[in-house]
Symmetry: C2
């Protein structure tokens, strides 16, 4: 099956749950036989649980990781920007192919925030979305122009986070 | 593998993304070989995409639906409360068994809001949580006592929702 109508969803804010919400959407869509691509920006730092689980849901679920290992070099973004720009070309090709019913651009808002991708490029991606493809954009500090152009926006607000109590990122929960 | 330490996470608020965030956590955990139970309250209305996908991730992922078909009868909650109370007994047994690394009580906050479950019963569930089990509670209007007792709380705030533009619940996205 395919969607009758595809919308654009944005998950932003400083709270936990943005990437996981997009992964939950992916799980639900796969259950219905929809084809899903989760395209991750600035997440080159090794395989997480979702990447391992995706193998069990192939070929309906594809997760593509892009980004340099480690975190963005905020002192000199040259290399991170080049990596993100290359990733953006790939994401655009996959999106416009119309092959996917659900297409997630994970952390694309973060990539914009770091100056690795221009907001105009995200807006172009939103315009290029095939009619029956659902597009999901995640990452904190979504640009106001992205919010304006989206159909659904949820802000994940951190009320309380256990990292402040010293709980480290845990395998199977955060990664 | 198992978690070294289990926390309690709450996803609340009026925005889209609470159940899907818990499903994304489930997907990630399953990828790491953790055993997951998603126990759904007041969701007896037929199988969603996540239930179909769970079959592909068995035996690591179990999703249990409870609730009467249709929505809660707010004019007379007698039968819905009985159903929810029975479900709570089952959820408590599964949680305390320690068999699951990640245990999600989906929509339990909603069940409290409707008067089907007492907040003291949720607090008891939180106290009974095995040390190495991660417990996730979802649903809007989480009770302040639940928020106080949790380790992590994210409020999903609706900034914009497409249902207001007339987009209906879509198979593969909302269900």
């Amino acid at each position: 099956m395919h969607l009758e109508q595809g919308c654009i969803q944005v998950y932003t804010g400083n709270g936990k749950g943005k990437t996981t919400a997009s992964l939950g959407l992916a799980l639900r869509a796969v259950g219905r036989g929809l084809k899903v691509c989760v395209f991750q920006f600035i997440k080159g730092g090794g395989r997480y649980g979702e990447h391992l689980a995706a193998e069990k849901l192939a070929p309906l679920l594809t997760i593509i990781q892009t980004g340099r290992p480690g975190w963005v070099n905020t002192k000199d973004i040259t290399e991170d920007r080049r990596t993100a720009q290359d990733a953006l070309v790939q994401a655009r090709e996959l999106l416009v192919s119309g092959e996917y019913d659900l297409f997630v651009c994970d952390e694309i808002n973060g990539a914009v925030g770091f100056g690795l991708i221009d907001v105009e490029q995200v807006l172009e991606l939103m315009r290029l979305k095939p009619e029956k493809t659902e597009l999901v954009l995640t990452g904190r500090n979504a640009h106001q122009l992205v919010i304006d152009a989206a159909d659904l926006v949820t802000e994940m607000v951190e009320i309380k986070h256990y990292y402040k109590a010293g709980v480290p990122a845990r395998t199977g929960i955060e990664m």
